[in-house]
């Protein structure tokens, strides 16, 4: 098994032959029909797998997601046919095996991993500057919305009523604002660290 997941490439780039690549792209298309490109399909597909393992309380869900994708690619390379009707059922079966092996290995090692001790990416020194920059880029009404939501001890349902939203629409709005901020922060950190280096 030999895979490299490189930003800017889809997993299909790693296939040995044109036909393998086409088979994987077709599978991705079936898995993520709403994605705009194979690269986007791959990103979304991997994100789902990462969450699958995170919600199963695995310490390193990204590692297990990559392992699942590796096995999927290997199966395609070995010529296995995958039903296009319910492809996620097939993916989930592979993920379940990966999870079982993970549990067995964990039980065998007898070591309870403390997540605080796991290595994490270093917190870049640019983070605080980027937060200031990205919050400043928000429109005043969005910033005020987030301030009120996070800083004022206002009841969430009352806040939703004030804004003329249902509680679920309120959650979705906050989720979207946070997603936009996350993207801004990631890009800002990347850009500033390049400038400093």
């Amino acid at each position: 098994m030999a895979l490299t997941f490189v930003p800017g490439y889809s997993c299909a780039d790693l296939m040995k032959t044109q036909s393998d690549s086409a088979a994987f792209d077709t599978l991705l298309q079936a898995l993520e029909p709403e994605a705009s490109s194979p690269h986007e399909s791959f990103r979304r597909f991997r994100a789902r797998l990462v969450r699958l393992f995170a919600w199963k309380h695995c310490e390193d869900p990204e590692d297990l997601a990559d392992e699942t994708i590796s096995r999927l690619v290997k199966n395609i390379q070995s010529g296995q046919e995958i039903s296009q009707d319910r492809p996620y059922r097939y993916v989930r079966a592979i993920a379940r095996n990966v999870f079982r092996e993970y549990l067995r290995a964990k039980e065998k090692s007898g070591i309870e991993t403390d997540v605080d001790e796991l290595p994490d990416l270093p917190a870049p020194e640019e983070t605080e500057d980027c937060w200031t920059l990205c919050l400043a880029q928000l429109s005043p009404d969005k910033r005020e919305f987030l301030e009120k939501y996070f800083l004022d001890s206002i009841d969430r349902e009352q806040f939703a009523r004030e804004k003329g939203l249902t509680i679920n629409a309120l959650r979705l709005t906050v989720f979207r604002y946070k997603a936009a901020l996350r993207l801004c922060i990631e890009n800002c950190i990347m850009r500033l660290s390049k400038v400093r280096n």
Partner: protein, 340 residues
């Protein structure tokens, strides 16, 4: 996401996230979110809301216990919590700065309001008083004229005294007024200095706006690229042959980190391990000693290194097992190539 999750779905998702579903229910939810984009988004939204409540301390003891289990179980969840904590801290910082600015502005307004200038002249007030007294005396009967004359004389003397007193007070008031005017002048000068400072601040703000615009342009360019910046590679033990067999790692310009996952043979476990990364030309790139065996998960040892360590070249990795008495032995060798 389209539509609103019905109450039942919301409850199911909450129970899923807090680990309270039966195996069968859990399987159904997993299958559902893998196949349904909207449902997956609903799960992410509900989880995000749970993170908010967790960070803001709005959970009951039991809810917090369940959330602890979820948010402290993986690096992915830990990052979600950290992001929201950073967001709250940054919002608080921004609000504090804004409030401090408003307090300063309010204080300046109050200082200006304390200056009060007298409106009516005391001399004029005395004249009006005398006229009123004279008019009253003219209305008295003749029998009282002598007495009235005496009283009038006394009143005139008193009035003269009051007039002088008033003049003295007027002088004092004028002096006070001059002092107040001086104060007003000083406050005005102070204000004009602050306005000048504000204009300098405005210039700085303009400059920062320009920088922000540039940043936005750069961000817009970057948005078209892949936001993740970690390239991962899984390496198996190998027999060295320069060229054939080595894995090729493609590092594009976005890759900031390289994550190496070394598959460790499970034949002879050691309490600690040493790792050494070199080029085939012999240049040492990176090393780490005394890595505890507990870091090996699923027979894999994982490192996240800066991609800048790895220019275009061929690399070899030596994994040494260190026994309790300190003897080390090569456990496995790995090889990979970096192509940019």
């Amino acid at each position: 996401m389209s539509g609103e999750p019905i109450q039942e779905t919301e409850e199911l998702i909450n129970r899923f996230l807090s680990g309270q579903l039966s195996e069968e229910e859990r399987n159904a939810v997993e299958e559902h979110f893998l196949a349904d984009d909207d449902y997956f988004t609903q799960l992410l939204v509900m989880e995000d809301s749970l993170v908010d409540d967790y960070v803001l301390g709005r959970l009951t003891d039991e809810e917090r216990k369940n959330a602890d289990l979820l948010f402290r179980s993986s690096l992915v969840e830990k990052r979600e919590v950290k992001f929201t904590e950073d967001l709250v801290a940054s919002l608080r910082r921004a609000r504090d700065t804004k409030e401090e600015r408003q307090r300063r502005k309010k204080k300046r307004t109050l200082d200006d309001g304390e200056i009060v200038v007298p409106k009516t002249s005391p001399w004029l007030q005395s004249q009006v008083s005398l006229n009123l007294i004279a008019r009253g005396l003219r209305g008295l009967p003749k029998a009282f004229s002598a007495t009235a004359g005496l009283i009038l004389l006394l009143l005139v003397a008193g009035s003269i005294y009051f007039v002088f007193q008033n003049r003295r007070q007027t002088k004092e008031l004028l002096a006070q007024r001059a002092v107040l005017e001086r104060n007003v002048q000083e406050v005005r000068e102070k204000l004009s200095r602050e306005i000048q400072d504000s204009s300098e601040l405005g210039k700085r703000l303009d400059l920062e706006n320009k920088m922000r615009t540039q940043a936005e342009e750069a961000l817009a360019l970057l948005r078209n690229r892949e936001p993740r910046s970690i390239a991962s590679v899984v390496l198996l033990p190998t027999i060295f042959e320069r060229g054939g067999g080595s894995k090729i790692v493609s590092l594009n310009a976005n890759a900031t980190f390289l994550r190496l996952l070394l598959e460790v043979p499970s034949t002879t476990p050691y309490p600690t391990y040493n790792v050494l990364i070199k080029t085939f030309g012999g240049r040492q790139v990176w090393s780490r000693d005394s890595i505890p065996a507990s870091q090996i998960k699923q027979n894999k040892l994982s490192f996240v290194l800066s991609a800048s360590f790895f220019p275009y070249d061929d690399y070899r990795i030596e994994l040494l097992g260190v026994s309790e008495n300190g003897d080390s032995k090569v456990v496995a060798d790995y090889a990979f190539k970096v192509r940019k």
